[in-house]
Amino acid sequence: MSFDTRTKLAIYRYFAETGQRPSLEVVAERVGADASSVREAYVRLRAQRVLVLEPDGVSIRMAPPFSGVPTQHLVIVDDTKYFANCAWDSFGIPAALHRPGKVHSRCEQSGEPLNLEIDLEGPPPCNWLFHCLVPAARWWDDIVFT
């Protein structure tokens, strides 16, 4: 397995285990490498669009579907709380973990709460809607805004 793949999996599995973003030092320890090498891997993983970093270049903002910072999209799986980057990613967390989960979010216009219990087959019948403002070709121009 390549170093970049080991780094990516260390990040994602830490998120899966804890609901939190790992520090650079934790990832380095898990992959058995120095922090400098891991930081270089972060840059390559960003280019692959599986990691988004804060401006400091080391703090993880996104490892989609996981968010490294609190958002309005809270997902609970097996008593662990996760934040998702967006509505799409809130469904992506139970999908990635292959576990049932509870999605708590809101209608962006009215503020009405959305509480959905997702099972392994997906959400129950529900007439809420998903709206994406940014065209697919522009999603990664500013993925935080998207």
């Binding site: 397995m1 793949t5 999996l9 994602y12 599995r13 899966a16 692959q48 669009r49 599986v50 989609p64 579907p65 967006c86 509505a87 799409w88 990613d89 469904f91 992506g92 967390i93 139970p94 999908a95 990635a96 973990l97 292959h98 979010s105 809101r106 209608c107 962006e108 216009q109 009215s110 009405e112 959305l114 959905l116 997702i118 997906g122 959400p123 529900c126 007439n127 809420w128 809607l129 998903f130 709206h131 994406c132 403002l133 065209p135 697919a136 070709a137 522009r138 999603w139 998207t146």
Partner: protein, 76 residues
């Protein structure tokens, strides 16, 4: 990428922010997108769908046109 209670709420939100209204996606369609993108994300050989695959995935859900084309140059 946001949730809305109804099409009317989307319309109100877009009007309030002077945003264009985009194609709407149902919760079942969103679940398919989520599982397609993320069901292997914690595995060694996972990778994001490539542009051709994305187009095929979207088309399979009835999400077509330039908005869903990851290589469209219609939006600058």
């Amino acid at each position: 990428m946001l949730f809305f209670r109804s099409e009317e709420r989307v319309r109100e939100w877009c009007a309030a922010h002077e945003y264009p209204m985009r194609p709407l996606v149902t919760m079942d369609q969103l679940w398919t997108l989520a599982t397609t993108w993320y069901s292997t994300r914690l595995q060694e050989h996972s990778r994001r769908p490539q542009p051709d695959e994305m187009r095929s995935i979207f088309a399979g859900l009835g999400l077509g046109g330039d908005f869903w084309n990851p290589q469209s140059d219609s939006f600058s």
